[in-house]
């Protein structure tokens, strides 16, 4: 049953991802990407990570994609020209490279040598017992406290960078900003 749902959501996610690739209008691409993120959140739930599924929906689909749509709206873009018309040499090389990457990754992942057995102590029962958020919070402030602090600096750098990048050069008497 779990497996059937996984395959259904996997097919839907790949289909939505392909439509990100193939739609011509950026708005349709953004909406297809929202769909992909939603199906991935469903797969996260099937893999026992409800907390990450919620975060995925809230941050990615809720915040980041709304930002994308706002920028598309601000820029008032026309639809893309049909792409992939001229098959120049770099594009053929690029297609070959991406197919090679896919083949190599899948070969590594399905090889019987890959030892992906249980190696740590967090079984699904224990996660359900203690609660995923408690475990994540505990690890965030013990084992991962340095990355946590670095991330806070990174976010501050991002905020300052955005303010500087989005500021208009020179004086703007109308003060309408953008």
């Amino acid at each position: 049953m779990e497996l059937i749902f996984f395959y259904v959501f996997a097919v839907l996610a790949v289909g939505a991802a392909l439509s990100v690739l193939l739609f011509r209008s950026p708005v349709y691409c953004a909406l297809a990407l929202v769909g992909t993120l939603g199906f991935l959140a469903a797969i996260f739930i099937l893999l026992n990570q409800e907390f990450l599924a919620a975060i995925q929906i809230l941050i990615y689909a809720g915040a980041i994609m709304v930002l994308f749509l706002f920028v598309i709206m601000l820029l008032n873009l026309r639809s893309d020209r049909p792409f992939a018309v001229q098959w120049s040499l770099p594009k053929i090389v690029g297609a070959g490279v991406s197919i090679g990457i896919l083949a190599q990754m899948i070969m590594v992942f399905i090889s019987p040598d890959a030892r992906i057995g249980p190696q740590d102590v967090y079984s699904p029962e224990r996660i359900a017992d203690e609660g995923a958020m408690e475990i994540i919070g505990g690890m965030l402030f013990t084992d991962f406290v340095l990355p946590f602090e670095v991330i806070s600096v990174l976010l501050m750098v991002a905020v300052i960078g955005v303010v500087i990048l989005a500021k208009r050069r020179g004086h703007d008497p109308a003060g309408d900003g953008e």
Partner: protein, 100 residues
């Protein structure tokens, strides 16, 4: 129990779709969306490993990847806005200022 190799294969397929999008699309915003798609494929890979290994470290990595993706999206979109304001186009074939 979902086989971990299937989760990882799905992650590889999504990542490849993202790579292909970065290569063949010409609109900078769509290229950026394909980068987000690649980040999500990597997140799925991390969660697949965490599921197979019964570990929570992969989940922590996904957490940090999400934060970096948010910061990256904000910075990237403001760069795109600045480029559009200065150049009037987002076609990455016409943005060759840094080309040698």
């Amino acid at each position: 129990m979902i086989p971990v190799s299937h989760v990882l294969s799905l992650s590889a397929i999504l990542f490849t779709i993202g790579v292909t999008g970065v290569i063949i699309r010409r609109n900078a915003i769509v290229v950026f969306m394909c980068i987000e798609l690649m980040l999500n494929a990597v997140n799925l890979g991390f969660i697949g490993f965490a599921y197979g290994m019964q570990s929570m470290v992969g989940v922590m990595f996904v957490f940090f990847v999400l934060i970096v993706a948010a910061a990256e999206a904000v910075i990237g979109l403001s760069i795109i806005l600045a480029i559009f304001r200065n150049k009037g186009t987002l076609n990455i074939d016409e943005l060759n200022l840094l080309r040698w």
